[in-house]
Amino acid sequence: MKREDSTLLNKYGKDPGFKVPENYFEDFNKRMADILPDVEITPVDVKPTMWQRLKPLAYMAAMFAGVWCMMTVFSHFTGSNIDGVRAVAEKLNEDNRNVDDFIMSGSVSDYDILNYEDSVMMSNEEVMLNDNE
């Protein structure tokens, strides 16, 4: 896919024409290191907190609780209430209200959306200009 900045890159390249004095960075690094004032460093506490230690266990417990809930719900529906489930399914199939509309987002690229935005902005500006006239 063609880059949107390819026209600029082909015409102007990436060198803006800026220069620095010879050995500028070597000199700067030395100069900078020499002028650093003294600072007080607080040692970082690397000991993990109680929550950090318990977090994996808490996540695992939540996962098992979720699985247990799902199994309870499934066993409820697959047991004695099968007619109720069928009735709900038939009701849902009566009309198409529960069918979601969706956009084929895979076929629309960011570049297309941005170009569309530009065209809308330009047409708005034209309308404003016409209004002003």
Partner: protein, 186 residues
């Protein structure tokens, strides 16, 4: 000549939090990042001497607040944030000195480019810099980071605190405006 020591960010961050090793570690940070931060600052402030001052302030600010850097973000992200804030502050101060409004664009920075000792670009490059300087501040930043540094949008998003979608849109609009600006002058 001694071989340059390989830069290991995890090790350097660890050394930065140790009183005995922090200064030497920050020296390695300066050595590793001075060039890339300089060019980002230079593209914002244009003049070499100004870029030198802003780069110095950036490292001084980073050093004096090194205790606040806990390694939650990447060191490069943190340094870029400081450098960008320092550049914006500097440009706004320069606008005030030149009695310009904070909402005016940065074209005044490019006006002396032709006579700049540390610029050897041609007329086309001057026009490109004028076009970039005419952009709003955020678009200018995004354009410079993407066009010259090829920075990824996710990294830029962390530095500028803006969503990737908004950054892509900013870059797209910046490119269009620059092309329009240059087209009008051809």
């Amino acid at each position: 000549m001694a071989a340059r020591e390989k830069y290991d960010e995890a090790l350097v961050v660890e050394q930065l939090h140790n009183q005995a090793t922090c200064k030497a570690a920050f020296g390695k940070v300066i050595e590793h990042y001075s060039s890339q931060l300089y060019w980002q600052i230079r593209r914002m402030v244009i003049d070499h001497d100004d870029a030198n001052d802003v780069l110095q302030n950036t490292f001084l600010k980073a050093w004096t607040s090194i205790d606040n850097f806990r390694g939650d973000a990447k060191l490069s992200t943190w340094l870029y944030k400081i450098a960008i804030n320092e550049s914006i502050t500097f440009v706004n101060k320069k606008k005030a000195i030149n009695q310009l409004s904070i909402d005016d664009d940065e074209s005044f920075l490019v006006n002396q480019l032709e006579s700049d000792e540390w610029f050897d670009g041609d007329e086309a490059q001057i026009n490109l810099q004028k076009a970039i300087a005419s952009l709003p501040e955020k678009q200018r930043l995004v354009f410079n980071l993407r066009y010259y540094d090829e920075m990824k949008y996710d990294e830029m998003s962390e530095i500028l605190g803006t969503s990737e979608g908004a950054l892509k849109a900013s870059y797209h609009h910046a490119v269009k405006k620059i092309e329009q600006f240059l087209g009008e002058r051809e």
